[in-house]
Subunit: 344 residues, 2 copies
DNA sequence: GAGCACTTGGTAAACGGTTTCCTTGACCCT
DNA sequence: AGGGTCAAGGAAACCGTTTACCAAGTGCTC
């Protein structure tokens, strides 16, 4: 079939041969290089490219230019709307700048984050975004710290969207303040006994939200209401509500550490014949679409913005600034699952 | 600083130099090549690799081996749990086989799918999964067809998880049967007037579901109830319910073309004081977690399986079989939003 | 002690691009 | 005619791997 060398389908070499020019020239017109090329030649190359269906190998290009145009994001679980929203923010601004976003699921486990970090380094990602919160004093975190350090040495930009043990610029929301504000809001509605369902134990985000709740209660000189274990899931929210129903007297209000937890709790309550918000006010945190769909009071965390801001920094190639932290604003979103106490 | 040549950080060359061996030898031990290497040498290389933090360039490797180990998936919107679940299925089985998954958002638009397809070709993806349904007689589809054809010529595996205009193996669910079964179930509960909220106009999935609904009604010799426009979103579901409330008499039951639509409708109904399922039975389709959270009757579509099966085929490198289609089973999931007619 | 097989290691050619550094003419000026 | 400038194009190095092929040494057989 072929004479001797057979350039790959749609490769630059094929285009060049077809147009009767050197590879260099073909490359130049296809990249709008500043190097001058005669109009006639340019046209021939363009036609050849069209004819053979030229598709520039991003791999080869990345190799030689030392720019992969890849952004990696390590999420707990892409099915969780929390992470999906963030990812969407990254992808949108990334794509606009010609970047490819690679999403890695870590199943909320540090070892897997480590694994995924390695993969991202192997693919020469220009930046990596850690979307999820870290665990307090995570023993498995030291290896991850080393990896991050190495990545930085190789010129990669590493960012996190929550509190983490390793050194890196952060884009966050003040979880403590968010929980404080929400609790404070419920108190202002006249509620006294306010229950709380926690997030996963040891997660910075969980701890901070709990702290915010406790601080608001203390400031109002209220006894912190019953506190339940949770893990950000519907199921544990549901379970907590059942335990609460088994208790002596129903609290005035209930806060879940995130939306999903609160929805699980609401479902259990409603199934038990409890009216919301007449019998008890319920609120969540994060403001995912779940909250909107259920018309639930919550506090908005700008997830999409998290992603967008992170992507912009990576694209700009922010040369480090390891220590800094930008805090994005949260916002209380009152909806129909909370009401003034005794409004029944 | 450096003598003359300075190998990149963590590169094979650096490892080789550090271990005092050739690059070839280093590569061999690091890849467990069958080529024999003396134990002492192997150890030196391994230590050197550890010391310099060797990270094999996936890019370079992909270039030379002609295997990128990349799977691409083109979704409508990663925030939509429908697509997120599918993606998760792909990622899980892909990762287990050492594959990287690249998710591309196409915003449910054919032009963007085309764009994303190009990107995936540029990155030498070994396989591409089209997760979303196509539009009936899409004029923009011809260019996409050409792209797909080209991709196939280059050895890529292209699959779709719904009906599409271009030729490619499909992994699907029988949407017509699914809608038929659901409708049939409602009829068996004694409902006579059954309303339907459609999906996006022109989408194969929408059309098929509508057809299934109509077929079941006709077979039961029932007049198809009011039919509303929709687009798979909460908002249009909500709007449709409002229009329905403005109508003469409330139907016995309501089917939304997907879960989100039905939830929007339920919210509107409840806000208007309508009890579900006492006053009207409501059901959705797909069985996303949304349906579970709201304890809504629906028909399950095995999204995760879609992804898993697709990924397995790509990894196996299925040499085409352009025509074939595998149909995964759907399953009716009765929950608390539907009940026997007059059960009030 | 020549011939041979096997072990161990290195050399160099890919892969598909980008980019630096030439070479070649054409043109202009003096 | 000689020299300089500039437009246009090509040759080749390089990015970091894998791998086909070759070379040297060892130990064995006959």
């Amino acid at each position: 079939m072929s004479e001797r060398s057979k350039p790959a389908k749609g490769s630059l070499a094929e285009v060049a041969r077809q147009a009767g020019v050197s590879i260099a020239t073909a490359s130049r017109v296809l990249n709008r290089s500043s190097h001058p090329v005669a109009e006639a030649t340019r046209k021939r190359v363009l036609e050849a490219a069209e004819a053979v269906g030229y598709s520039p190998s991003a791999l080869a290009r990345a190799l030689v230019t030392q720019r992969s145009r890849i952004i990696g994001v390590i999420v707990g679980d892409i099915v969780d709307p929390y992470f999906a929203e963030i990812t969407r923010g990254i992808e949108d601004v990334g794509a606009k700048a010609g970047y490819l976003t690679i999403v890695c699921n870590a199943d909320r486990r540090t070892e897997l984050e480590e694994e995924q970090m390695r993969v991202l380094v192997d693919y020469h990602a220009e930046g990596v975004v850690f979307a999820g919160s870290g665990y307090v004093n995570d023993p498995k975190g030291t290896e991850l710290s080393r990896l991050v350090e190495r990545a930085r040495e190789r010129g990669m930009t590493v960012l996190s969207l929550a509190h983490r043990d390793f050194e890196c610029p952060r884009i966050v929301v003040d979880n403590r303040a968010a929980a404080y504000d929400l609790t404070d809001y419920l108190i202002s509605l006249g509620h006294r006994r306010i229950a709380f369902i926690k997030g996963p134990a040891g997660l910075y985000a969980s701890e901070h939200r709990l702290e915010g709740y406790l601080a608001a209660m203390e400031e109002a000189q209220l006894e912190p209401g019953p506190i339940f274990e949770g893990d950000f899931t519907y199921d544990l929210g549901h379970a907590a509500a059942l335990r609460m129903l088994g208790g002596a007297e129903l609290p005035d209000a209930l806060i879940g550490a995130n939306d999903e937890t609160s929805i699980g709790a609401m479902t259990a309550l409603r199934q038990a014949g409890v009216s919301i918000p007449e019998d008890i006010s319920v609120a969540g945190m994060t403001d995912t679409r779940l909250a909107r769909f259920t018309d639930m009071t919550t506090v908005n965390i700008p997830l999409y913005q998290f992603g967008a801001v992170a992507a912009r920094r990576i694209i700009a190639g922010e040369s480090d600034g390891a220590g800094d932290e930008v805090v994005l604003p949260h916002r209380l979103v009152p909806r129909s699952t909370t009401t003034r106490r005794g409004a029944r």
